[in-house]
């Protein structure tokens, strides 16, 4: 319960900090001349994508470590990270089309970055369905570890897809070999948003991890 409560407190604080990101984005960043106000979706879409990819990557890393060490905490963390990643993925996949419509003239296009991202999202929805369908804890942990590792393999392709394929999606402006190509006010707001979304990810994972602990304790009490 303590983990869940700490996760709740951190999540609520991060949500309050998100309102600070809104203030920064709306009143302390310039309006981009070609994209207008729609460009400000960037301060939510990019950090949400970062949190989703961080979450899915950690599921794969925990899966690989679980297959090696057989530590149930790794499986529990992987499950928590996958569920939180799907929530951030939902934010990424809704704010993306809302931004795309006024800029590209279409809600969606089947280019490499968007298609791979959608596949990754569906893969982790499948991961959660798989976990719900399997009742043996060892079997559930092994099978979901393998699916998590497969998801992790997709992440670098998604990051590099804008270089490897012809795509409408813009290339990275922060996570790239050269210096970030953004005016200082925009970069500052984006970095604050990255921190807030990362804290929110941590808070939600702690809360979800705490829920798993409570459910396992209740299950043991029922069985034993």
């Amino acid at each position: 319960m303590a983990v869940a409560r700490r996760g709740l407190v951190l999540s609520v604080l991060a949500m309050l900090a998100l309102s600070g990101v809104y203030v920064l984005a709306l009143s302390h960043t310039p309006i981009e001349a070609r994209q207008g106000l729609a460009q400000k979706i960037f301060y939510l879409h990019v950090p949400a994508a970062w949190s989703a990819l961080l979450a899915f990557s950690l599921v794969g890393i925990c899966g690989a470590l679980y297959l090696w060490l057989h530590d149930p905490r790794l499986d529990r963390f992987g499950a928590a990270s996958a569920e939180v990643g799907v929530a951030f993925g939902a934010v990424m996949l809704t704010t993306g089309p809302i931004w795309a419509k006024p800029i590209w003239g279409t809600w969606w296009t089947w280019d490499a970055r968007l298609t791979l991202t959608l596949f990754l999202f569906f893969l982790f929805v499948g991961y959660l369905a798989l976990r719900a369908a399997l009742h043996d804890p060892g079997e559930r942990a092994r099978f979901s570890a393998v699916v998590g590792i497969l998801g992790l393999l997709l992440v670098p392709f998604i990051h590099l897809s804008v270089y490897l394929f012809r795509t409408l999606h813009p290339q990275p402006i922060v996570l790239k070999p050269s210096k970030p190509s953004l005016p200082p006010e925009m970069l500052r707001t984006l970095l604050v948003s990255f921190v807030v979304f990362t804290l929110l990810y941590l808070g939600l994972v702690m809360l979800r991890y705490g829920l798993a602990l409570i459910e396992e304790a209740a299950e043991e009490a029922r069985d034993g």
């Binding site: 999540s11 998100l18 929530a87 931004w99 006024p102 829920l211 209740a218």
Partner: protein, 39 residues
Amino acid sequence: MADVPQNGGYMIAAYIVTPVILVGYLVGLWLRVKKAGGS
């Protein structure tokens, strides 16, 4: 300034949908904790 596209409605939609998803998930998680026996 006259050439800047007037598309603030899209920004407002994205700025509403983000907390709706995240707060909705947070509340759902907390209700699951309560239901599972956490006080």
